[in-house]
Amino acid sequence: MLENLRERLRMDNEPKESIDPRARKVWMIGGAIGSAIVLMIVVGFFFLVTIGYGAPDWVGWTAIALGVAYVPWGVFLSPWLRMRFWRYELRENEMEIQHGIFVIKRHLIPMVRVQYVDTEHGPLMRYFGLTTLSISTAATKFAIPALPKQRAEELRGEIATLARVSEEDV
């Protein structure tokens, strides 16, 4: 029954490759920083509103409860779900990307539509040796976060070569 439910919650024909598992660590650290900020805000809210303006206690406590509830979500659940659904696959004529936490999105990008490919990395990503690869068409932009540096550069090269092959009119 549970297995069946999990099967139904998956989108079939998932692209083959997952992103680097270290991505989860990066997201967890990011989530921890975010949680800390949220906690600071709700505690500040508690002091300001209940003690400062004398609002009923439950208002402040509700805010704190919401803030505390956010922590497991931000630190554990959402990085896990993101990691779970992140998939990509480079084929000869197209790239397929799947991502999402609740709402799963799967994009199909034909190579002939690719305008340019970038790689970029923030400080946290760089610490883990990870790189974000982004692919732009004339209308849309997609990013694959957290690829090992070398893999990202390989992919960028491959996509750039494949993208040049055909010249259909935009």
Binding site: L5, R91, F102, I109, R113, T137, A138, A139, T140
Partner: protein, 475 residues
Amino acid sequence: MSDLRRQHPLLILLDTGRGLISNLSFALIIAISLPDDMFGGFIGNAIVALLAMFGLSALFNVLRWYFFLYRYEEGMVHIRQGVLFKRERTIKRDRVQSMNTNANVLQQAFGLVTLQIKTAGVSVDAEVNLRAVSKKEAESIKEHLYAKEARSETEPVEVPKASRFLQGRDIWLAALTSGRFMVLFSVVAVVYAQVYEYIPQSYLDQAVESLSTIPLMVGIGIALGLFLLTWALSAIVFVIQFANFSVRRFEDRLEISWGVLKKNHVTVKLHRLQAVMVYQGVLRQPFGLCTMMVEVAGGGSKEQERVSLLHPLIRRKEVEGFLRDILPEYHLPSCSVVLPKRALRRYLFRSTVPVALLTGAIMIAFYFWGVPYSWVPLLLLAPALLLGLSRHRNGSISVEGDQLSLRFRNVSLVQVLIKRSHIQSLSLIANPFQRLAGLRTAQASFLSSPAGKSYSLKDLEAEDAQAVRDWYSRN
């Protein structure tokens, strides 16, 4: 070939006039802030402030006109402008996406037009905007930018492959069903209410006396009269806006023109055309009337520059023939996949729940304030429910040949036709509930400057969505 030229000096007047109206409030603020005794009271101050502003802006516009020079030669337009900061710009023929002309009343009086040359540039002002050139000059510039090779004089003029005009018989229906109708009606009613006071009492008494035997009829008569008056006004507005509409198809482009007071002429190069859209407003749907639009890549940043009118008013059953004549590259789908029954629940949920929450809140508020008839907001639920039903019933998708057709309703019913080669990327989207129900949202993105645009259809059968994806896939 031409030397550096200036635009017609009328531009100074046009700019000054426009600037003056927008700066009127500014002048009033200055007038108020000046000390009272400076130029003899508020009126004096206002006049002086206005004159000063007028003088300044006229001076500025003279300078701007004087320093704006353009030159065109085979395949190029060159522009030099700027009073203090000089800017030069050269636009090559290959980069030109579309050229439009339009003219307001004042420009028409002097035989001038505004010529806009648009390029594919992402930057908002990457275009040429000549606001006062003679009609002949505009034609000649267009000619120079169009001609691939210099065309000899003896060569025959290009004949359109097909052309269509607006049919007069539909104008009355269009007027009745235009969105402006209700607005106009209220304006007419307000004007009537104002005028009513000035009708001499004796005359009114007499009129009422003679008609008072049938007082209900008087009311109905007045309402009907106002209604007919509005209808006529609305029709006149529509005619002024769209009269002389014509669309002509040439080998490589569409030439669309319309309007009386403001004449519009739009050239759409076919290879820039990204999508065709057929709109049916709620009021026009019962009469089977549609509006057709085209999405063009490389227009300006404003909505009306990216989306061009293709036909202001056409009968639904004539759309097919119209496309065959003017745009045979596109067709209406002969059959399409509708949404599955189990998607209806989700459509109803989406359309009614926000309304239900809102009415709930209003009713609670009404109850607390003791407003009578607090159940009235509940009536809103009926149209919301109908809208959800209709959205579900009208949603459909089809892939035939190299064309994707989407039909969906927000309020108006919209049908979008896109070529496979114009879809930049295709996405399938599903939230957990959609995944449990085996449903997908399909979304097609295409180029529409400055950024992309996308159309989507919610709650397709997963297999149908997959079929669309496979159609788009090149592997």
